[in-house]
Amino acid sequence: MPDEPEQELELTSSLVPLFVITNGRALPPDHEYEHTTLVMAAQDAAATARTLSPEAGQVMALVTEGFLSVAEVAGHTHLPLGIVRILLAQLEEDSLILVRRPIPRAERVDRELVSAVLEGLKNRFGA
């Protein structure tokens, strides 16, 4: 150690750690609250919203006026997406928000299977 320990250490990290903001809650599963999932405050949410943590309150304030995508919520709150998803999961559990999930993407057909079928057809009918 250099002999200048009297110099005060400056703490630059964020004061409130993220795991306190989420209260130690785990991430929701991957398919929940994707980027394009839309969220909006429930009708009677305003009364209970006062007891929320400032971050959850901020999310609620963003979605009171209408549907907003999860990605946009994350962008506005400057919180990491995962943290926003945890907060949203908590809010939905408390039925403070409505969630509209995106239409699931059509599944890709297995290319090998298709070529196997094609192969079979060719063998059967001769091309």
Partner: protein, 397 residues
Amino acid sequence: MKQDTLVWCMVAVTVIAVAAVVALAARNRALGAKKQQSEAELRRQLHTSDSHLHLSRAELQRFRSEQDGTLREAKEAAEENTKAVLKGAASFLQSLAAEQTTLLDSVQRKYGGHAVLSDLLEVNHANAQMARKAQGIAVMCGAPLGRRNRPASVYDVVRSAQGQIRNFHRVSVMQQTALALKASAVAPVALAVAELLDNAASFSQHDAPIEVTFQRAQSNLCIVIDDAGVGMNDEDRQRATELLSGDVVPRLSQLGNQPKFGFPVIGLIARQYGFKVDVTGVSRYGGVRAVVLLPEELWTMEETPPAQEAPVSSILRAEGRSQSGTARTTHGLPKRGARQAPIASVPGPVATPPAPSAPPAPERTGRSSGRSLGAFQRGTLSGRNLDTTSPEGSEDA
């Protein structure tokens, strides 16, 4: 004739008796004188040996105090040496932990959309506990505490403290308050509250709640911590009060094998930064009520709005306006237009958020799906934080 003989005999006997008496008296006198002489002699001897004894006793006392002094000096020197060694090591650990916290902060933001985030949060929790211990040891050794250069609401300071203990989810902060701590008080109060919370958590059952409330008493701001633990007896209470006042600073060697830093650390920083801590109260659950009493020099009435609030409020204002605007169908129903306001307020990757006082420009009313898509993309990107991990992002968080 016979009578004469008798008379003479009597005379002779008398003479003999007188002689004997005289001789005996003389002897007696001599003996008395001798006795007195020897008594005086003995007394003198006793006196001298007494003074000898006195001298030796004084000497012994002197030696003993000298020895005590030397021992004390040696102990103090040893203590100072230990402290000096530990101070260096603890400061090193402290700065390393702080660096790691900053690093973890940016990593968490970088991988905010990734599943690894939950593990990162746990790592950060472990790191926060380590940082607290390192700070405690550093304070015990006389090293300076870390410093924050921004004031923060007392609510956030308590949440910061909450993150530094193991079972942090048992702690619930019952009120939110806008009262802010001055920048210089943020780090010490956070550490003191963290030590008190740790104490509350360790001396109560593993699922018992710990409640934090705030109270203003005259010009003081109090942080009140109630636990549902076992409470303290009078002896413990007295000892705790001594330690917390900072009057009694135990030696490092007195802290025991599983050192109890908590109260001595709180006492030291409370004295250094000018606040008071009391643990003699009884909580409403029958446990300990700890009160951190902050004099008015350490806090202000001013609110410290979080830096991110500006864009949020501007969206709401803008949305309200567009709803009352002219975009309506022929049947009088509001037209669903592309979102205007979020577009305007989503900051670009490098753009700083608009100043809170700047009203949104009034001419943004037309539809523009192109801009909307662009904004959506930017929002997505900043949500995922893929390419916007600029140093500003982690700094203003």
